[in-house]
Symmetry: D3
């Protein structure tokens, strides 16, 4: 297997063959990141699903309401994606986590065992809840909500934790089944101080 190919089990369309709105968004991302994250291409054989996926993604991650920082959102994604053994999401969102938190070690820590990570007690509580939503959502009960309150999480914040976990559970399964590979660029981003990553 060559290191840098996309390798999905499904067809990966050429940029030129995509609907205009997909192509536009992809070019925009490429301009900003310097490369096209593979998820944008691997889902593109299904434009309607692609649009819904990106709309959901943006609704959860690109917004200014609530007390979760961008770094904390990525922390939830990295932690629960590791529990789902999703290579794409751990590597890609681990990179974004490092950048937002300006902590080069934290992504590897939460991916292996969030209980040992250099995070705040608030973040630990947030991740404990996210892991329960990820793995045993049917057992979530009042006690889980009560454990979050002392850390200042509002009802809206708790919805954010649950919804981000749930949405990336969807993403994890698509990536796992399709064999979607993380771009090589992600692995190093945010690890080296002062790099543009």
């Amino acid at each position: 297997m060559k290191d840098n190919e996309l390798t999905s089990r499904w067809p990966v369309p050429e940029l030129a063959d995509l609907p205009a709105d997909l192509r536009e968004r992809i070019l925009e991302v490429q301009a900003k990141a310097g490369f096209v994250p593979n998820v944008f291409l691997a889902l593109a054989h299904r434009p309607a699903e692609w649009r819904a996926f990106m709309a959901y993604h943006d609704a959860l991650l690109v917004k200014d309401t609530g007390s979760l920082t961008k770094g904390e959102r990525e922390m939830i994604i990295t932690t629960t994606s590791a529990a789902n053994h999703c290579l794409y999401c751990v590597v890609a969102h681990g990179a974004i986590l490092r950048i937002h938190e300006k902590k080069p070690l934290v992504a590897d820590q939460v991916a292996i065992n969030h209980r040992k990570a250099d995070i705040t007690p608030r973040q630990r509580a947030m991740l404990d809840f996210a892991m329960k939503v990820c793995q045993h959502s049917h057992e979530v009960d009042d006690a889980d909500f009560s454990a979050l309150r002392p850390h200042g999480f509002s009802d809206d914040d708790i919805w954010d934790i649950a919804a981000i976990t749930a949405f990336f559970g969807l993403s994890n399964r698509l990536a796992n089944v399709s064999g979607m590979r993380p771009n090589d660029e992600f692995y190093l981003m945010g690890r080296v101080p002062r790099s543009k990553g």
Copy 2:
């Protein structure tokens, strides 16, 4: 707990307070079904997520391509939602499954043990794959795809099975965490011959 209330842990907006596009869709569904399925209301406190959720839902379930019948799509939802212990989705989609398949028993069967259900070998293979995507997606490999081929599933069909499973895994987690209740109407739909259900 009163039997017919919605009971979500999050606020349920009044119809009048919703953005016009949400209200319109909800009224349309109500006109067709005779009631408003609770999921339309329970997600409505987050209009952007609501829109993305419905767009994803429609992209997977309201389309004419692929060989999966509407009943088979609902079969996947009912089976994997039971594995995730999601009361809302099993009851609501079990109802739709009964109606589409015109088989009043099949929803209860796949929810308890799809191996004992009155389904075709093709449907059995489809559900085996869906359950693996639901529970162990990181272990999906070539052998799982090979097991589907003899039943006539195309690459596109297999994506459908995986994507429906993944999307309702998201839905299951939101319903479980919010405590979203299925409408009472669903429980009986499709069970009694010739009823409007």
Copy 3:
């Protein structure tokens, strides 16, 4: 597979060929229910086991002592049988549960997730204990008994919960291995108000 056949992996005797006491009981049940529940036939190839099974069944379910209502006994059976993925017992005892409790929705609720069911706190505690006996009986300890006391369960009631769970764990395994099908009649019983079901 035809919908209404018994389908056991073992021979199903003709009524005429059965020992008199089995035949008598079966005819009695048929007179009362309007049909012969398949478990009576599927076990009949082993008359001695049949007699012991029915005697155990009656000792636990046909008695007037203790504070568990008939509906609560069926609730234990339905909940733990779903955990064991036993189609026969969930469908048959779910029907009896609906009838005794006069609640057409409760069987589907406890089968999917008893934590979300419309039941009393006492019933929730009862089912929590039953599920522990079903799945982790070796870890049952003083704390489990203490959690039941505030709800008014006596020692005798607790034995009933445990024994019903244990007995239907036996029944679940026989039904699963034999492929015993629930009679079609059970699926609808107790769902429609005023029906004799």
Copy 4:
């Protein structure tokens, strides 16, 4: 805790207070074994259940039909009871297993890992099936039956394996919940050559 007391969480009746048929059977067992196995006393506070339990026990273990030897029946009990972490049944039936098979080591072997025990390939297949019935009965399918055929197991033998496993799953749960202790006498029986054990 004194080593030799019965310690059940439920009352243990005096022999004199028991119904005549229970007392008679208990005295008979005592005469034969030299002591009263605690299960006879721990269940006696419920005479109707006691009678059903013993009738079921006898129907499965005291009979001359089928190809399973007495030792093989005890092997099934010891193996599956260990999987259920039931101290009473492993110790008591492990003793009877050693005696019937005249193999002083085999009970300890199957209790820890039946794959490493000094047993025949036929017995290995039998225990593999029993373990599946014990732990995943809802997944039993044609392949499990096919694996048993080459070893000469008839349909009736397979029922015996499943039924013994299922019945002792019931027994294991009652013993675990009640805290029923194995009599000290069992631990050494069948270990020392030429002993009466």
Copy 5:
């Protein structure tokens, strides 16, 4: 399979062919125990690993510091080795446990379910901790340490519990993979009063 052979999947060297230090230790053990425990031979095809293994073993078990008795150390080994389904370690260390504790029943008890064993509350807490280290070490946290303190365990004692569990987890895996058999002699040792066992 003959009952008394070693049966490892790897070569078992002749005593004469071993390095002098291995041979010496083995002869010393044989002189003391009356036989050569198979682990000494099964690991001997790798002298460097053998030496490290024995050095680790002695560092943990042959020492006079700390409050854990020799019996308690063997109790940890027997309990966690049963959780790992390691026949060799349960049988061999169960024997040593019986001898040190002078309790002929305790090894069988902790191997099946340490919650039902005739042990002190201190020993119960010790085994609860050992089991967590054995099965979920990444979840060990402050609460686990706090639960040990009231029983008088020092930091050094807690290290001993963890290290013994961890070391025998290594030993269990080597024994399981190699198919190393316990010597027949172990099974009876410490069971019969006044025997040298």
Copy 6:
């Protein structure tokens, strides 16, 4: 928590207070690596165990026999340590893996899901076996050995795979319980081409 402290729950001795042989080895490692890996200090409060640990480590990893490359040995460690959620070993040995294999991405890949890693079929088979030894060693059987043969693994190689897995299972548990932190230096080693890592 400060990022760079060792944080073990047990005392970390000063270098000056250590026995000469420990101090010597530690200084030697420091000279070579540029820092002292924390495991050398975290275990040092127990010199006898430290010596056995290092001897075992060297016997498995510092040798020229067998067909496993140094990179493959580190691959086994990284993969199984991730399954055990051991932050120290994944980070430290992941670094060494990157260096030996000269593949900056492979450590993150095998830690999340070795099935998706850019490795050879031989390495995939090696890791499948290692994971079984790590998680279900009591189920290892002939079929597992047969699956390794076509890839050219000798009996000695298979022992190496199993022994490395087993030894780092010990290491994982000690690191998890003690809260041993990986040195910050490890995280970046081998990721940047031509760096000193």
